[in-house]
């Protein structure tokens, strides 16, 4: 969309949206919010950028390879936190052993886990947008 207003405003809005997303990410303990929502908001910023400028421009900020790597990394992080608990002698996904006390352990665990969720959700959404937006539909039935 070659609309100057939109472009300028998107540039202005981009960082606050992401910051807001990260805020939601890290304040999930205290209020509504958490990994999914944060992931979606951050992804929304990228999607907005990709729509107003172009997907190629957005790929400069978030290259597809990195995107894909992070996409897997988020879920892996989640699973890995569980495995750490496993190695330290508790059942899977038990956070008690992660910190000095049970409560601290739970805090660390929840933080990490939510981060993993956020990472995956965000990158999945971006990746979905990349896929859909740039799917080459060719000449056939383009009405």
């Amino acid at each position: 969309m070659d609309n100057i207003i939109l472009k300028v405003c998107t540039k202005v809005l981009f960082t606050p949206i992401i910051l807001f997303g990260l805020y939601v990410q890290f304040h999930g303990d205290f209020g509504p919010g958490g990994g999914f929502q944060a992931g979606v908001i951050v992804a929304a910023a990228f999607i907005l950028y990709a729509m107003v400028f172009s997907v190629e421009d957005c790929k400069v900020i978030m290259p597809p390879k990195l995107n894909f790597f992070l996409l897997a990394l988020g879920a892996f992080l989640y699973g890995f936190v569980g495995i750490v608990g496993l190695i330290l002698g508790d059942p899977y996904l038990s956070y008690d052993v992660l910190g000095s006390s049970k409560e601290a352990g739970q805090h660390i665990g929840i933080l990490l886990v939510e981060f993993g969720v956020g990472l995956t959700v965000c990158n999945v959404m971006i990746s979905l947008f990349y896929s859909f937006a740039n799917f080459n539909f060719g000449k056939k039935n383009n009405d």
């Binding site: 979606v40 400028f53 190629e56 421009d57 879920a75 886990v113 995956t120 799917f135």
Partner: protein, 189 residues
Amino acid sequence: MIGEIIINAFLVTLMLTIAVFIINTRKVISTILLAGTYSLVAALMFVSLDAVDVAFTEASVGAGISTILFLAALSNLPKEETEEKFNIKHIYAICTCTLVAGLLIWASYDLPLVGQLENPVHQHLAQDFIEGSRNHIGIPNVVTSILASYRGYDTFGETVVIYTAGIAVLVLLYDKVSNSSKPNPRKNK
């Protein structure tokens, strides 16, 4: 709380209206907009039912990302549905749905009334979660503590679901042409 009831009833009816309109729209874009609105109202409903986290998610996921995905997909799809006459299949569908709805409504006579404190749902586990979140985990958002700790495995599963969807779409919409050429950043203005 007569106010709550009014709000609730209003929103529910509103959703019903929107849903009925969704059935008959043939312009795809209107369908999508209406569906987005439906999600928005549902989210409002969630807020009024005290489910702020759900409302948050429904707003961002249901109304936001889903709509954007629909629109993104629509760029590769015909924008209008082909017309279709009322036929036997519709009657069949109506019968099925009426039957199922009847079954559910029949079941609703034995469901606990909405919002009563003595419902089994509130008696059995809820207090344990709230106390546990206050005393054992120590974070104020009970939903987060259940989500990430008590039922952390569900959430893990759900992360994997979204990962699956991501990878599946990636695989399905894989485009040789666009992936072989290196991204060439356009000049920024």
